[in-house]
């Protein structure tokens, strides 16, 4: 029997102004992180509806990370404060549902922090990989 290495599926939401640019900078500096991370660009971290995160889990994502500007640096002044509060609520709900807390994360990455972006992704992927597949929230009807 062939044993294939488990590869987690990670969805990363990155705000256009800081974290997406931070991810670009990681690329410019050739700082590698696992290809399991797939980035979705949003204008601001506050654009991320908790529903998107639940949707990702439902569709089989193993981890979801949300990256925004550092508090106080939001391009839209207050967006990431909303994010912080909304995610605190969502995470406590996921906790209640029995989803491991380590599958979700909010991280502040500025446009200058390419190294932080790569390090964060390496760390997060390792963390999610250690947990294994997300079976609890995955909707098997979505599987082909």
């Amino acid at each position: 029997m062939q044993v294939t290495e488990y590869k987690p599926l990670i969805v990363a939401f990155c705000c256009n102004w800081c974290s997406y640019a931070g991810a670009d900078l990681a690329g410019n500096n050739r700082l590698s992180y696992p290809a399991d991370v797939k980035i979705i660009r949003v204008p601001c971290s506050c654009r991320v509806n908790p529903m998107f995160i639940l949707r990702a889990f439902q569709r089989g994502a193993d981890g979801v990370i949300l990256c925004g500007c550092h508090p106080g640096d939001c391009h839209y002044t207050t967006g990431n404060y909303y994010t912080r509060r909304r995610m605190a609520l969502l995470f406590s709900m996921l906790d209640y549902l029995g989803i491991e807390r380590e599958r979700t994360r909010v991280e502040w990455v500025s446009a200058a922090e390419g190294a932080k972006f790569a390090a964060t992704m390496n760390d997060f992927v390792a963390q999610v990989a250690a947990l294994g597949e997300n079976k609890r929230l995955e909707d098997l009807r979505c599987k082909k």
């Binding site: 256009n16 997406y20 991810a23 670009d24 290809a35 949003v42 204008p43 509806n49």
Partner: protein
Amino acid sequence: MQRIGVFVCHCGTNIAGTVDVKAVAAALKNEPGVVFSADYPYMCSQAGQDMIKEAIAEHRLGGIVICSCSPRMHEATFRKTAAAAGLNPYMVEIANIREQCSWVHKDMAVGTEKAIILGKAAVAKVNLNTPLTPGQSPVTKRALVIGGGIAGIQTALDIAEAGFPVDIVETKPTIGGKMAQLDKTFPTLDCAACILTPKMVDAGQHENIRIFSYSEVTAVKGFVGNFEVTIKRKARYVKEDVCTGCGLCTEKCPQKKVPNEFNLGMDNRRAIYIPFAQAVPKVATIDPDYCMMLKSGKCGVCSKVCTVGAIDYKAKDEYIEEKYGAIVVATGFNPISLEKFDEYAYSQSKDVITSLEFERLTNAAGPTQGKLLRPSDGEHPHTIVFVQCVGSRCEACSEKGKEYCSKICCMYTAKHAMLTRDKYPDTDVYVFYIDVRTPGKNFDEFYRRAVEEYGVHYIKGMVGKVSPEGKKLHVQASDLLAGKQLHIDADLVVLAAAIEPDRSARPLATMLTASMDTNDFFTEAHPKLRPVESPTAGVFLSGACQGPKDIPETVSQAGAAAAKVIGLLCKDHLTGNPCVAHADELMCNGCSTCERVCPYGAITYVEKEFRMPDRTTKLRRVASVNEAVCQGCGACTVACMSGAMDLRGFMNRQIQAEVDAICK
């Protein structure tokens, strides 16, 4: 379903080195909606762009996906390409397979697999894209400057010189601000009035400038290019257009005991007054708190002596409404109240004064005609102690002071010390400091002169206590470098009080929906790259309202703000960002949540008539987004409980489609 074209860029070997571009193009060809798929060495080159244009025409493409570098790099390029081929520029999506794929992964198989997934996500998104057209709004070619200090005057003059009409609104009876109260300016020691008053006159006489003195802004509506502002013109009981400013009334008024705020209460003025000789507009103002005629109806002396009949005791506050394209905030600063600083005995002794009071004492137009005399007994002081950082850099005592550095105090204290030693060489001058901060052109040289040429005693350490003892002020202080306690019997103690934003700033920020920091300084749109713009479009910042500043910095910022305003007013129309929020009126339940989370005040509620199934009509309150104000952050889309709010270009459906494509 759109007819989609996919274009995969090699970027030389930047992408093709780790991603099998042909495999990506082939894989994406099978995605729903994709009718054309190709790769090319450099998509952004002219030949690459021509290929895109031809494909759009030939295959009647309704949307395109470019798998290339970051959208931060070439999104604008490819949008222009699409527009040139007759495709709506917002039907373009970029899959970032360089910065976020080929450059961070080394294995060809891994890179190719990820590039395909990113491409699929982009295809899924573009399938749901809708053509967007940026809104256009006209620009009112008139600017408003709030605050008539040196910042406001300079901004107004620069805008007016460019040919646009400007209004200055100033709460005091005259423009001039704090600079008018100063004696000399560092580091050149030229007289403040000599350089300021010509500018005041220029502003007063400029054909493009209107000055609303003794007025304030009471309401602001509208948005960039189209502000509607209500200005309250307080009744000054003197007809501004009739008064000649001769000053006869201010000499004859019998009410002589009014503290003169221009001299910080160190002498008195009359109830009818002109703040200072070079005031602009040079018009008398009646102080309703002290005028006997207004209070009791008995007096009327000013009306009798006025030769032109300018006095009007029946005047009322007037409100005027005006439209503006841009607003510049130049509300400036004030020294903080020193009431809470008991240790310096500011409220106990008249001889403990603030630096601004010291300015008036050394000013030839001040209460002592420029002679440095003790306020208590009018004697010449022989020992003067200057205390720096009173309330500044006060981390431990944030409830009475400020945490920040007030920036200007080191330099003006050096100036005061130097001027004192220059005029009165028999005076001993001590300056207590935490640090002496002299960044600025010729600033350190200036401070060194005070120490080396003028013999000012600079002592590193803070004053612990000032206690009035007889005619003297006993100053207890520590000398940190010598490591000992000092006891000085001073005649005069001058406190370099921290500066804070003017109190009018906070209500104004609320009216403008402009953001402020915790200290009530206005926040700039970007601390490095957009230092004179507020994050609120159309609102600009000039001078100390944005942070402590000296005069040269204030003037440069004033000019920069003016340049930004001119750039805005030069446009006939403003083109907006079409990726803005949009409310589905049928779904909106009128809860106002979005209105509260919007940082720009872009959402208002309107009453709208809806046709009901039974053919009756019903009035309902629904959200309405002002597209010229909305910046497209999307905060409201998540806050909306009924799901009525969506963000164009980043719609719920689009982001979910991307999630689905990635997770498939």
